[in-house]
Amino acid sequence: MEPSSRNGEANAGAGSVSTWRASDLELEVFARGAEGAERLLVLHDLDYVNGVEYPFTEGLAKRWRVISPSHPGFGGSSLPPSFDSMADLAYVYLDVLRLTGPAHLIGLGFGGWIAAEIAIRCTHDVRSLVLVDALGIKVGDRTTRDIADMFVVSPSELVELSWHDAQRGEHEMPLPVANRGFDEDQLTRLLDNRKTAALLAWNPFMHDPKLRARLARIDCPTLVVWGASDGIVSPLYGRAYARSIPAARFELIGQAGHYPYLEQPAAFLETVEPFLLGVQRA
């Protein structure tokens, strides 16, 4: 994989966007923060493909170079024809890490699952791991649905499950439905993101039955952050996630659902930033 030349870089809000190319993949990569700084690789969730436009990016970009790709098949990134599993994504990001050099990984929801898939394979370039309301493991018994059926519940139920403040979620969540004011292109992009998520994780639904046992291989400092009101994957699920990773600490953020970094960005920063600084001092 190669980043495109500097003249291929464009401004994206306060950051920049460039295209990184591998043989059959074009990866859209957003970046923000000083180029020489320590790097944070942010892996997005499935309904939010926000590049460096999260409420926490500005704060973290003061100390770190925040790099936030759109996953293959999401946003402006292509989907190679052979891709149909989370492992395919994990190997892309292991290549990205080899290029950027060691980075802290921050995985949000679905992106948290990708981060875990990366870390169980190799932590050589992973300085630390932050998992936020991550999907990907099986916790309950075989008749328990650990992960909400986000594609089957109604849009308003999905907001209820995902947000502590459902009224705000109703207003902000970019769902592919008629009454949100999206045009055809915008709807197509949102639906494409969901199509890729379904391709990668329909059955077993949003998890790999073998991942939990493999989490024991993760040997880097790990912080597991969870929204106290998350109805997609519960805080109990999050605690089980943290217990499965040897060096993990669990932190609950109040008044937040599946997206604590959107609902409580200040509390999120206050939790994540000291963890990252602690890792760097150690």
């Binding site: 594609f151 055809e184 292109d185 197509t188 199509k195 639904f205």
Partner: protein, 394 residues
């Protein structure tokens, strides 16, 4: 024009308020609402109706759905097996086996080859993707639905036509030894029919020379699908496909008078008026995202909520006296050029006596008048059972 009797084998006893409470007639209406004793009566009644249609000289169509009160035929080869032994003349159109949802396509090849032998070559093997709600009972990947369909199809046809063991190492299925016993009675294999209601799979159907079937689409929509088929043939320098390449399914009911047909035929609307769950009907990636986006913004719909009159104008519903039915079927033929009329001639709680009376009237007074529509020499893909032993080399 060939006519086929079809019922979805509905279970019409679930109160509407139950359906509304669950927001769906499929997938999640608890099966506690299905009384097995009532189901037993219904299965036997519906199979008796099929046998009666065979006696009347009609051909038969069967289908399959899962976890739904709209259709108790949950295993198409089971119902086809029951009819293969109890009917003597009719074609048995299985339309169809939902290929992407089957775990084992070789088993499908075996079942259909067996049915073809038991029925002495009366099987038509329809293959379908399955409606979107079928994704949930089988929990198969909606994005890979088409790819699974095509690989299963390729494997089944190869299993039917390869007279010795072969290996299959595909994307979805792996077998070290495929060697289906029996071979199909019809050689090289039973005719294949494919359904579709959007443009994306029609060229594939045309390329294979299969019969294309459209269900409950308005005339114009049906026409545009058939046009794509014809254009695909023209682009490949193939002869213009004849009417026997096209099938259409409508809700049909014949009675002594128009007034009686209008009154009794209303019962057919039961099928169209079931509660449709928006999310179960739109699993991600089942249709291309840009098409789904257009649908969200109010794109083309089949119009199942239309009035009885509008549904008749669109050709989705065809009811009437024998004379009216003859006229309606001629109109369908003139507008769309189809050669197979699939008559969903029973829906919901429509009573057995009405179904039988309707079929009798149709067979006696309508069918003789429409039979010749579009009749031409058989298409090369339609292999008659007389030729069955041509490829057999002991």
């Amino acid at each position: 024009m060939k006519a086929y009797f079809f019922t979805e084998m509905p279970y019409p006893y679930v109160p509407e308020e139950v359906e509304r409470a669950y927001g769906s007639s499929r997938v999640i209406v608890p099966n506690r609402y299905c009384d097995p004793a009532a189901a037993a009566e219904l299965y036997n009644r519906y199979l008796d109706e099929y046998e009666y249609a065979d006696e009347l000289g009609l051909d038969l169509m069967l289908n399959e759905h899962h976890q739904t009160l709209t259709c108790m035929d949950a295993a198409i080869s089971v119902s086809a097996a029951a009819l293969a032994r109890r009917t003597r003349r009719a074609k048995l159109v299985l339309l169809g086996t939902p290929l992407p949802h089957r775990d084992n396509p070789v088993r499908v090849a075996e079942e259909i080859a067996m049915l073809d032998c038991i029925s002495r070559g009366r099987v038509v093997s329809g293959f379908v993707r399955g409606v979107p709600t079928e994704i949930h009972p089988s929990n198969t990947n909606p994005v890979l639905n088409r790819a699974r369909f095509e690989e299963a199809h390729d494997l089944i046809v190869k299993a039917w036509t390869t007279p010795e063991p072969f290996t299959w190492e595909g994307r979805f299925w792996h077998y070290r030894y495929v060697n289906v016993w029996p071979r199909p009675y019809q050689q090289p294999h039973p005719p294949i029919w494919i359904t579709g209601s959007s443009l994306d799979n029609v060229p594939w159907v045309a390329d294979h020379g299969y019969v294309f079937a459209s269900f409950l689409t308005p005339y114009d929509w049906t026409n545009s699908l058939i046009d794509v088929y014809k254009r695909s043939c023209a682009e490949r320098g193939l002869p213009e496909p004849s009417a026997d390449r096209f099938a259409y399914l409508a809700l049909c009911y014949t009675a002594e008078t128009d007034a009686q047909a209008e009154a009794e035929g209303q019962a057919l609307l039961w099928y169209l008026r079931r509660v449709r769950h928006p999310q179960f009907n739109a699993p991600p990636g089942y249709v291309p995202p840009h098409v789904q986006a257009q649908t969200i913004l109010g794109g083309a719909r089949k119009g199942y909520g239309d009035s009885f009159e509008t549904l008749q104008e669109k050709g989705i519903v065809m009811v009437g006296s024998p004379d009216t039915m003859i006229r309606r079927i001629r109109t369908l033929y003139e507008r769309c050029g189809i050669g197979h009329l699939l008559m969903m001639n029973q829906a919901g709680a429509m009573p057995d006596q009405q179904v039988r009376r309707s079929l009798e009237l149709f067979a006696r007074e309508v069918y003789p008048e429409i039979r010749d529509l579009g009749e031409q020499p058989a298409h090369p893909q339609t292999v008659s059972s007389e030729r069955r032993s041509a490829a057999f080399r002991p």
